[in-house]
């Protein structure tokens, strides 16, 4: 969609998307998880009021929806950054010393386990347990791109490159 379009039209459209998602899943309460996944895809996180709407539409108590959304680590209840950096801390990566990479990233972006997202909503740094590419340990995922055999320096370089890219008009 064009940049010129006012943001609020986007909101309305997202709501329509949510309605479509619900319809696609036939308003079946058993399909709550795929519904939330699709909704999160739209919003990049799960706003409480949207979850409330999903609860209403699926005839579920809101506490149930909230319970599910807070159980699974893939659901985010606060917005994540534009770039989600997920550093693998699975066994293979841990043994191959993923820890210093994490430290380096957190230090550079001034984030922590408790506050994983930069204030400008640009980066989120998380750890995951095994991305299933252990042969390349340590592994780092930036959005959907897998980076293998990462070192602290390499990780910082990846972040720097993204920052430079963002600064370009």
């Amino acid at each position: 969609m064009s940049q010129a379009e006012p943001a609020f039209v986007g909101e309305g459209r997202r709501f329509q998307r949510v309605c479509d998602i619900l319809a696609l899943h036939q308003h079946d309460p058993a399909r709550l998880i795929p519904v939330l996944q699709a909704v999160q895809h739209e919003y990049r996180y799960l706003p409480a009021e949207v979850m409330a709407y999903v609860a209403t539409a699926l005839h579920l108590p809101p506490a149930h929806v909230y319970g599910v959304a807070t159980f699974y680590s893939h659901f985010a209840l606060v917005p994540k950054g534009k770039y989600v950096v997920r550093l693998c801390d699975g066994t293979a990566c841990h043994v191959k010393r993923s820890e210093p990479i994490l430290q380096a990233l957190r230090q550079k972006l001034r984030v922590s386990a408790a506050k994983p997202t930069t204030p400008d909503l640009m980066f989120t740094v998380e750890t995951v347990s095994c991305l299933g590419a252990c042969g390349l340990a340590p592994v780092m995922l930036v959005n959907d791109t897998v980076h293998g055999q990462v070192t602290p320096e390499a990780a910082l370089k990846i972040v720097d490159d993204l920052l430079t890219k963002e600064e370009l008009p």
């Binding site: 058993a30 998880i33 795929p34 996944q37 159980f71 066994t91 347990s129 299933g132 590419a133 252990c134």
Partner: protein, 639 residues
């Protein structure tokens, strides 16, 4: 097109095989996650472009329409799933030459085209180099990593195009399902599985035939089958590779399981971190539906089967069957007490069979090759093969498959090529341990190198096959820190339902924290052990019951290392930062004296403008000096 009969299946397979015959060469680029991360997709593109530029006919897809008028010649460029040797990726195989190129960059493609594709020559510099004899290996059979393996379930994974149903058909795909639906009744199928001795690859090693039989006998007419592709063990990726590399084999196994219990609905539950596996499984299902392999009246048997692929949402515990069921039902993935077992009362309270990906992928092979052939593999009580994810301090990491009964030594030394240091350089000595079965498993030491890897002998020594993670650790690994790492994992992944696991793992982690930071005492060890046993005995589900395994087995095998931490406040491997004595670097110290003032116990000596030193007998490792030194001249001792 509809594939409803044996003839139709065979015809479709043969037609494809015929098309393949007409291709002069085939280039298989590994497009598993590992190789893709290393740039395999660019390599693939370079091949397509490069071959075209070179004026050779290039095929990226073998189309059915071409059957009538097969064009002779041409190079078929295809992508495959993971071939297990990701470390050496991107991998490129040229057929029929059977040449395997490793670490191929887009820039190398030109040379391969010119040499191999045009003239059948080998580009030696891209071959795998056997370090031990310093000889280049031309193909898989010569590479030590592959030599001791028996690739059975993974056989087609690294060669066929996972997105092509035809390709699966051409290797006899779905013929086992066809037999199961047309020539066998459910009871026979269950008996066949029981005779084969197949045991679940998902961790527990439960006899698959018995599980099916239990579900088959349930009177409820509505039943379900579920493929467990949640693979959460942090350091294992076998199931991923199978789902990405040969999704139809999983689906065929699932169809057979459905037949064996007369289920009409199947689910494939795939871990959220595996988007490609989700995509591949969905495509496989859609393709199978399109040709009538799924749907109503399968193979004219009157039985119907629908299949749905569901993506997990990030919870290790959902690998546990009852939690997985809750998750499919749209609930929090909290396990339920067993009994009732899912085979009695599972999804929507209906009888449900849950099998692991690898288990299901083995099923069609048993039907195809016969029970006898299967029993000939592996050991008596653990027939068949097992895939392992070999990682850690070992020269060749990757996905391997060996018959049960292979020894640890064969795996670590022959296949793995021996132990390495952190940087991946081989060490002649220095093997310390192998963690098998991930956070639920136990550790094996040098004493166990000749242990046969199978369900029973591992359980016998307090370890388990588990999902198949094999992490090799060298002597610079601190076993307390490792135990702590696994504890951290299980603690993070505990669902929080039952007291012993939720609170117990938290306390165990705190006790281990105390030990690695030098705050532990011998009592800490005793309490840790007592608590570990309670958590093991009392937890509700497998996660909690097995969470103490790493701690307990490491405590047993490496007790002295634990004692060194709590008694001598020393980390023998030198990895626990808090236990490493502070050390002033003579190069960096400018003799400013700040540390001297910071040290509360007067352990630091030194003249102004001269390098300072620390009296280790006085030092209590508080770390004050480390943070005080503005020049970063002091290392270690950080609590």
């Amino acid at each position: 097109m509809r594939l409803g009969t044996q003839e139709e299946l065979q015809h479709a397979g043969q037609a494809y095989a015929a098309m393949l015959e007409h291709c002069e060469r085939r280039v298989v680029v590994c497009a598993g996650t590992g190789c893709v991360a290393n740039g395999a997709l660019d390599v693939y593109k370079s091949f397509c472009l490069g071959i075209e530029t070179a004026g050779l006919p290039v095929l990226t897809e073998l189309k059915r329409e071409a059957i009538e008028a097969p064009a002779d010649g041409g190079v078929f460029v295809s992508r495959s799933g993971c071939q297990g040797f990701c470390q050496m990726g991107p991998l490129v195989t040229v057929l029929p030459d059977n040449t395997l190129y490793t670490r191929v960059k887009p820039d190398d493609v030109r040379e391969i085209i010119d040499a191999t594709l045009r003239t059948g020559q080998v580009v030696t510099r891209l071959l795998y180099l056997d370090q031990r004899h310093n000889t280049p290996c031309r193909g898989v059979p010569e590479i030590p990593f592959y030599q001791q393996q028996h690739r059975f379930v993974l056989k087609s994974c690294g060669s066929i195009d996972p997105e092509s149903l035809d390709e699966y058909l051409s290797s006899g795909g779905y013929s086992a399902a066809q037999r199961a639906y047309t020539e066998m009744v459910p009871k026979e199928l269950c008996e066949l599985m029981t005779r084969s001795g197949l045991r679940g690859r998902g961790g527990g090693g439960f006899p698959t035939g018995k599980k099916w039989e239990l579900a088959r006998l349930q009177p409820n007419p509505q039943k379900y089958v579920i493929c467990n592709g949640d693979e959460g063990d942090p350091g294992a990726f076998m199931d991923r590779s199978v789902m990405e590399g040969n999704p139809h084999s999983v689906l065929e196994g699932l169809m057979i399981a459905a037949r064996a219990i007369r289920a009409d609905k199947a689910y494939v539950y795939v871990r959220a971190e595996y988007p490609l596996a989700v995509k591949r499984m969905r495509k496989a299902v859609a393709d199978a539906e399109r040709v009538g392999l799924l749907g109503d009246n399968i193979f004219g048997s009157g039985q119907r089967l629908q299949c749905e692929v569901m993506e997990g949402a990030g919870a290790f515990v959902c690998g546990e069957e009852t939690a997985l069921i809750s998750s499919i039902e749209g609930k929090r993935g909290m396990p339920h007490p067993k009994p009732p077992f899912p085979a009695q009362r599972g999804l929507w309270d209906k009888p449900t069979v849950i099998n692991n990906v690898e288990t299901l992928a083995t099923v069609p092979l048993i039907l195809k090759n016969g029970v006898e052939a299967f029993l000939a593999l592996g050991t008596r009580r653990s027939p068949g093969t097992k895939t392992f994810a070999l990682t850690g301090h070992v020269a060749n990491t990757g996905l391997i498959e060996v018959p049960f009964g292979t020894t640890l030594r064969q795996v670590v030394c022959d296949i793995g090529g021996g132990v390495t240091n952190d940087a991946g350089e081989p060490l002649s000595t220095g093997f310390k341990a192998v963690q098998i079965g991930g956070p639920s498993g136990g550790c094996l030491t040098a004493d166990n190198l000749d242990l046969s890897l199978d369900f029973d002998s591992l359980t016998g020594i307090g370890a388990m096959v588990g999902s198949g993670g094999l992490v090799v650790m060298n002597e610079h690994t601190c076993m307390v820190a490792m135990a702590r790492f696994f504890m951290q994992f299980t603690q993070n992944e505990s669902c929080g339902k039952c007291v012993l696991c939720r609170e117990g793992t938290k306390q165990m982690l705190m006790l281990l924290d105390d030990i690695v930071t030098g705050k532990g005492t011998l009592e800490t060890l005793t309490l840790l052990e007592q608590l570990a046993r309670a958590v093991q005995k009392g937890s509700l589900c497998g996660l909690g019951k097995t969470a103490p395994n790493p701690v307990l087995s490491m405590l047993k095998k490496f007790r002295s290392e634990y004692e060194a931490h709590v008694v001598d406040k020393r980390c023998p491997a030198g990895r626990c930062r808090a236990l490493v004595p502070p050390d002033i670097s003579a190069q960096k110290c400018k003799g400013c004296g700040v540390c001297l003032k910071a040290c509360a116990v007067g352990a630091i000596r030194g003249e102004r403008k001269h390098v300072h030193t620390i009296d280790q007998t006085l030092c209590v490792r508080c770390g004050a000096c480390v943070s005080a030194c503005k020049l970063g001249a002091i290392s270690g001792a950080q609590l």
